[in-house]
């Protein structure tokens, strides 16, 4: 079992709040699907317990997946490019050169803001959506965006 890895890279991991955000998102999405059969089981027929149990088990499974992938997300600012690592089952490392970044976008939804994290979206001419950082602490996000933009302008090389 040999996994992809690069030499001499110090990874900055995503904030641990990202794990919290993922678990809360799973909980919000799965709550109605788990509560409805539970209510049916209490009111109508005990066989519904199987359904609600199964859905609860899948909710736990999704939360586990969310935890694993959030802890696997990291990045590293190198000399000429930015490395982004993601995924556990399907792993990938993306290298985005500063000179090709068209613009950098910082955004955070209400849950992320409440937890104090945000996400950065990098746009190149290739329009690849995997060039995004999640779980960047709010205090760092603006500084990181400014650093990336400054390096991008310094090395800007057209399309």
């Amino acid at each position: 079992m040999t996994s992809i890895s690069l030499e001499g890279v110090t990874w900055t991991p995503a904030s641990s709040k990202l794990v919290t955000a993922r678990i809360i998102t799973v909980a919000i999405w799965m709550a109605p699907f788990v509560l409805a059969p539970t209510v049916f089981a209490i009111i109508f027929h005990p066989a519904w317990w199987w359904v609600s149990g199964g859905l609860l088990a899948s909710a736990v499974w999704f939360a586990w997946l969310g935890y694993r992938s959030a802890t696997a997300h990291a990045w590293c600012e190198r000399e000429d490019d930015l490395l982004i690592k993601r995924g556990r089952i399907f792993r990938s490392i993306t290298a985005v050169p500063y000179g090709r970044m068209q613009y950098v976008e910082v955004s955070s939804g209400p849950l992320a803001r409440a937890l104090g994290i945000s996400s950065l979206q990098l746009h190149t001419a290739a329009a690849s959506t995997s060039a995004s950082l999640s779980g960047v602490p709010l205090a760092e996000a603006d500084a990181l965006r400014d650093r990336l933009s400054a390096r991008g302008e310094a090395r800007m090389a057209g399309l």
Partner: protein, 532 residues
């Protein structure tokens, strides 16, 4: 000189690109689809609002006047709406950009910067050819909808606009000279114009005889490849679609014959026979439509090269002339289907930023060509392959397998994931480009110049992790070419990622400007007069 003589004879107009807000040609709204809309609208209204539909023929003949009136009414409304939007649609060319204004209620203002121009196409649909009008499409590096479409201009005006636009985008300094600021489509002072007509860095730019005189002459074009009609037709026949069609037809005929022979009394036969015939007819019509569409687009294909870029002309009923300036081609792909192996034909498609629509329609550099023509086509977009012997290296890359020519190949463990292609999967990095090979029955070769690498990605699924493999993707602009090297050994993949990132960084530093004429010193300002 030929130009002034012609000017003295005919007192002809010199077509220039407009600097003030100008509208497109007044009969443009009439060339739209109003006839189709009128016909469809009439039919729809009649079906839904007309009385009883029992006596269909009676309906038609009895109400013919009403139908005609309805159709005319709808046509008039559509054309009137077209003229309203025509009134508010205007465009112009400034020193830095092409600007377009549209819309009555929702005003739109689009600006396409000249150094972001990726390609300029002059398209003449059939009706346009009959009346001498053309569409001008300017593709810009931006999202979908960032390009500018001007429908319709006089052909000479469209070409004048294109020539001037490309000359400025290349960085040529064009000076209008005395009394030339009218800005409208034609000026009446040909002698004064001609004496100030710009060349590009002193190069002679004589317009070809028979074309209208434009203020900036079209750069002289050298024809590289012309695809003969016979080969185009044959290539459409020798495609996978034809084979599938032949299979369906044979299967259908056999099934109906067998069924009718086996049990002549069963009613089922009627169903099977009828079904087979109908299915066959549908398949044939579908194939015919697709094949005719392909022929219509691809016939008379000519590839040429000029000072303002690669010129591609093709089309039978609707003709298209594309110009792709240097450095705008992001990736090139060569494919050869199994049926083309014997005549050794290759198809070349490219990624150009801005060509978002139908990739088969506009991104083809060469629809079908011999191996030498494919090499010529690639030379036109990537002159330096970074190898001391490009022809044999390229030729061997097209059809090689395994470790030939310094290709780094997939290891044996890849045969679990891709038992057919694994021998051919691999990459080779020359000084200026990355070559990626794949395909077993249908061979594929992708060339990505180092200077056009956007971002890189190395990825690995659970099975690949088990086998010690990884996949490297070179991100390129949206288009038909997707440069991916699959199932490399992990060490090779990591090495490719690091080395390609380093090579791309070196080449990025070499990229000076988007204006290609300035980059080679032909802009008329820097350097000497080259023509002497």
């Amino acid at each position: 000189m030929e130009n002034t003589q012609g000017a003295a004879e005919g007192g002809g107009h010199i077509f220039t690109a407009p600097r003030e807000w100008t509208r497109v040609h007044p009969i443009s709204p009439l060339l739209g689809g109003w006839a189709v809309i009128a016909a469809v609208g009439t039919f729809w209204i009649e079906r839904n609002l007309g009385g009883d539909d029992d006596e269909f023929l009676d309906l038609i003949f009895g109400r013919i006047a009403v139908l005609v009136g309805l159709a005319v009414g709808i046509a008039v409304i559509v054309i009137a709406a077209g003229y309203v939007s025509w009134w508010f649609h205007s465009f112009r060319l400034t020193d830095e950009a092409i600007e377009q204004r549209k819309g009555l209620l929702f005003k739109q203002f689009k600006q396409a910067r000249l150094d972001r121009v990726q390609a300029v196409d002059v398209v003449q649909p059939l009706v346009g050819r009959l009346v001498g009008l053309a569409k001008l499409k300017i593709e810009v590096a931006g999202g979908t909808g960032s390009g500018i479409d001007l429908q319709y201009l006089r052909l000479a005006e469209a070409e004048a606009f294109r020539n001037e636009l490309l000359a400025r985008a290349g960085g040529a300094k064009l000076d209008r000279g005395a009394g030339a600021d009218s800005g409208e489509g034609a000026t009446d002072n040909p002698a004064a114009q001609q004496s100030h007509a710009p060349g590009i860095g002193g190069l002679q730019l004589a317009p070809s005889p028979g074309t209208a005189r434009t203020w900036v002459a079209a750069a002289v074009e050298r024809l590289l490849v012309a695809v003969p009609i016979k080969r185009t037709i044959l290539s459409v026949l020798l495609s996978a679609g034809t084979i599938i069609l032949a299979f369906i037809v044979v299967a259908g005929v056999t099934a109906s014959i067998v069924a009718s022979v086996l049990a002549a009394e069963l009613d089922l036969i009627g169903i099977v026979f009828g079904g087979g015939a109908v299915g066959g007819a549908i398949a044939i019509f579908g194939w015919l439509a697709a094949a005719l569409g392909q022929l219509n687009r691809g016939l008379n294909f000519k590839l040429g090269i000029a000072a303002d870029g690669v010129r591609i002309a093709h089309g039978l009923l609707e003709t298209t002339k594309q110009t792709i300036p240097p450095g705008r081609v992001q990736a090139v792909q060569f494919t050869q289907g199994l049926l083309w192996r014997k005549p050794d034909w290759w198809r070349v498609v490219i990624n150009v930023a801005g060509y978002h629509e139908d990739p088969t329609k506009v991104s083809t550099l060469l629809p079908v060509g011999t191996r030498l023509e494919a090499l010529t086509a690639m030379w036109s977009v990537l002159p330096d392959l970074g190898d001391p012997d490009p022809e044999s290296m390229f030729s061997a890359s097209l059809s090689g397998t395994g470790e030939d020519n310094g290709f780094i190949n997939s290891p044996r463990s890849a045969r679990w994931l891709d038992p057919w292609q694994w021998r051919r999967l691999g990459y080779k990095a020359t000084d200026s480009a990355l070559l990626i090979r794949s395909g077993w029955l249908g061979r594929v070769l992708i060339v990505v110049p180092h200077q056009r690498t956007q971002s890189l990605e190395i990825s690995q699924g659970p099975l690949q992790r088990r086998l010690g493999l990884a996949t490297v993707t070179v991100h390129s602009t949206p288009g038909p070419v997707k440069p991916v090297v699959r199932h490399l050994a992990l060490a090779d993949a990591t090495a490719l990622l690091e080395e390609q990132a380093a090579r791309a960084a070196v080449w990025r530093r070499r990229q000076t400007t988007e204006q290609w004429l300035v980059a080679v010193g032909f802009d008329g300002e820097s350097g000497d007069d080259v023509s002497k």
